[in-house]
């Protein structure tokens, strides 16, 4: 008799969704989270005023060297939310060669769902067909029509603010809440694109914030976005989607959820006779005490690299290179979105206009190159995240009354295009367990190998030139290249969108999972974090993880009901 119907490894965006769906289907679910419990009163720092923070809320060099020696610091890491980030000191990993990939991780219940950028875009029909069309990677075993109802399902519950823009490359949702407003600078560029580049559209970013909460959302204790832009500190209003605000409370209220924090999975237990996962071995990260928990089905949602390591570290005689790896694709095809091109410009005029409130999302220019047809010498394309606003205070020249006066009035408008490039699946971009080094709980650490190929380099160069052309054609001046692709023409270090190392596919010989996120090899094993992604597309991926998680969980519940598992 198993302890639970289902065990879910990880409580982040995808694990939270699986837990909610399974609990609502009546299954007894255990969620294992290696991080600490999250208590909003203690752990959120969203109500700190600027003068209540220490040292401008910046993490010191000494702490950076001690705790973030590999990843460095991102814009979202502050002194007051530092406890939410996993440290490289406690959770080291290695990169092969002189590589730039940075692995930023949450260290608590809710994982990166508390720390994410919240941009929420659907993949399109094109995105699910392009591997087949251009021969990269393997064909997705899923088409847009299969997943569209699940996008509807997760968007309705999560709450996505956005416009229905009618663009085939970025399908609209049915349940969007009112979008945030554009700035004057964005409206200016949007209008000018209609004549300068009619196939390039500037739209308002779609974001997982409640702008008009539904009864379902308020019943969970969630409230409307207050436009504070304090999201990376946790949200006491529960206004942006997180496991903590949305899926875990929904799972909890069914009475079917058992949540075990401080529980790091050492290995999955495989029964070679039945060819089933029977349970998991965990180690308590505080006490070091090990224990075993059993279940009928297992969902691994430990984030792309974490999931890959768990499967690899669970190798058996039957699966010597890692569980469910008869295809040899586990740990291959690591992808991330490419960064390294940011072009800004001064937007003349609009000096009688300003903003009020702090919008926690920018605008967006969806994919347009090689769409819908392949036309360039490189494959795929990119999208631009668009940031804009009037310059704030700073330290311009001058002293005395003049200095104060210069800062008291807002400066000119500016706008910036930040390209997010698509990464091709490459079997030589890998995650492997280290042969000798282990973390303090005895688990081999990850060795990550992720390099840009010629396609990624060509694509980012083109993205950079297009950004210059777009801003120039709009009549904006003072163009500046805040990030410019170098010889390498892009970097893997800023996106935190790692994916692809347990890809879905139609053929068990070339993929790890089937079209239901179910292992080809071991039928009661499911994976629905970013590792299932067969291609990266250019859209921020979390919404897609949510949709596939909900779909897979319901499929697994169906199979369990039918007695097929």
């Amino acid at each position: 008799m198993a302890d639970f119907d289902a065990i879910v490894v990880g409580s982040g965006i995808s694990g939270g969704w699986v837990a909610k769906e399974l609990c609502e289907r009546g299954l007894k679910v255990c969620v294992l989270e290696r991080g600490k419990p999250t208590k909003p009163d203690r752990d959120y720092s969203d109500f700190l005023d600027p003068w209540e923070t220490q040292h401008f809320d910046r993490i010191s060099n000494d702490v950076k060297k001690r705790d973030f020696s590999i990843t460095g610091l991102s814009y979202a890491q502050k002194e007051s939310n530092r406890h939410l980030w996993m440290t490289d000191r406690e959770h080291p990993y290695e990169r092969l060669g002189n590589q730039s990939f940075t692995w930023r991780r949450g260290a608590h219940v809710g994982g990166r769902s508390l720390l994410w950028g919240r941009a929420s875009y659907r993949l399109s029909a094109y995105d699910f067909e392009v591997n087949k069309a251009d021969g990269e990677g393997v064909d997705w075993p899923v088409r847009y029509d299969d997943i569209a109802p699940w996008y509807d399902h997760v968007e309705k519950f999560a709450g996505i603010a956005g416009n229905r823009d009618g663009l085939a490359q970025l399908p609209d949702g049915k349940h969007f809440q009112p979008a945030f407003e554009h700035t004057c600078a964005e409206l200016d560029l949007k209008e000018k694109l209609k004549t300068s580049f009619p196939d390039r559209h500037l739209i308002m970013g779609r974001v997982a914030h409640l702008t008009q909460p539904t009864e379902e959302q308020t019943a969970l204790g969630r409230g409307q976005c207050q436009a504070r832009n304090r999201c990376h500190h946790g949200c006491s209003y529960g206004a942006y989607f997180s496991s903590n605000a949305a899926t875990l409370p929904a799972a909890e209220r069914t009475g079917n959820l058992t949540l075990l924090p401080n529980s790091a999975v050492s290995k999955l237990l495989h029964d070679p006779v039945e060819n089933r996962i029977t349970g998991v071995e965990i180690v308590n990260t505080i006490t070091g005490v090990g224990s075993t928990h059993t279940a009928k089905i297992i969902f691994v949602n430990a984030s792309t690299i974490g999931t890959t390591l768990i499967l690899q570290n669970s190798a058996t005689e039957a699966y010597p290179t890692g569980l469910a790896n008869s295809s040899d694709q586990l740990g291959r095809n690591l992808m991330d979105h490419i960064g390294g091109s940011q072009v800004g410009a001064h937007v003349p005029g609009h000096l009688d206009r300003y903003v009020t409130g702090r919008r926690a999302i920018g605008a967006y220019i969806p994919r347009y190159r090689n769409y819908p047809k392949q036309e360039e010498s490189y494959k795929r394309g990119w999208g631009y995240q668009v940031y804009s606003g009037r310059q704030g205070w700073g330290a311009p020249s001058g002293v005395g009354d003049g200095f104060k006066a210069a800062n008291r009035a807002p400066g000119p408008w500016g706008i910036m295009l930040d390209a997010f490039g698509e990464c091709l699946p490459n079997p030589n971009n890998t995650v492997r367990p280290h042969k000798t080094k282990a973390d303090k709980w005895g688990q081999p650490i990850a060795v990550i190998h992720l390099t840009l190929g010629p396609n990624e380099k060509a694509l980012m160069k083109a993205a950079h030139q297009d950004a210059l052309d777009i801003l120039d054609a709009a009549g904006f001046d003072g163009l500046y290249e805040a990030q410019k692709p170098s010889e390498d023409s892009g970097v893997f270090k800023v996106r935190t969108h790692e994916m692809g190392t347990a890809r879905m596919g139609r053929d068990p010989k070339t993929s790890v999972l089937n079209g239901w996120n179910q292992s080809h090899d071991i039928p009661n094993l499911f994976v629905t974090d970013g590792s299932f992604m067969t291609s990266s597309a250019v859209q921020n991926p979390s919404l897609t993880y949510m949709a596939f998680s909900a779909r897979a969980a319901n499929h697994a519940a169906d199979l369990l009901q039918e007695g097929a598992l």
Binding site: W51, G357, A395, K404
Partner: protein
């Protein structure tokens, strides 16, 4: 995403460069190789009374009391002491100490006495000229610009700086992207 609020700062790129290069610059701060850079500097993890007096006087000259608080009334010197002692590493402290010493020497030479002892109008006159040179000539004194950025940050993140000199709403409640400036005429602190 990136932190556009940070990029929006008028001095963002400059101050970032100054910080990352702090260690390298520490040895060659300021205008030329004045006598200041040759002498042995204190290794104390705390800014001395005379260093604090110089910082306070420069901060108050850059951001004087008007109908709103000046830098000193807003507590800027204490914030800088705290950054220096609790937050900075040895490179940061060396960078500040050498930079302050260079400024002190400059003002001793050009004004005949310690900057903190001068009259407000003499301070404004001499620092104004120095400031113009620092912003007008590349590489003249990057420490000065970095220090000024720190002073500005400490001031505009203070309660009087954010809420009286500029405008601040802890909980705006709504966002509007293109409203008349006349309704919100002051720069938002955040």
């Amino acid at each position: 995403m990136t932190d556009f609020m940070m990029l929006q700062r008028r001095d963002a790129l400059k101050s970032l460069l100054a910080l990352s290069a702090a260690g390298a610059l520490a040895a060659c701060v300021g205008e030329g190789k004045s006598e200041g850079s040759a002498k042995k500097l204190s290794a104390s993890p705390k800014l001395s009374a005379s260093e604090m007096a110089l910082i306070s006087a420069m901060a108050q000259t850059i951001i004087p009391k008007t109908d709103t608080a000046g830098a000193v009334e807003a507590g800027v010197p204490a914030v800088i002491q705290s950054l220096f002692t609790e937050w900075g590493d040895d490179n940061y402290r060396t960078y500040w100490r050498a930079g302050l010493d260079n400024l002190e020497q400059h003002f001793l030479k050009s004004g005949g006495q310690a900057f903190a002892k001068m009259t407000p109008s003499q301070q404004a006159n001499l620092l104004g000229k120095y400031d113009a040179k620092a912003y007008g000539e590349a590489g003249f004194d990057d420490f000065y610009k970095s220090m000024k950025s720190t002073i500005a940050t400490a001031y505009y993140m203070s309660e009087p700086g954010a809420t009286e000199e500029l405008a601040y709403e802890a909980v705006p409640g709504e966002w509007r992207g293109c409203v008349p400036l006349s309704e919100f005429p002051k720069t938002w602190a955040t």
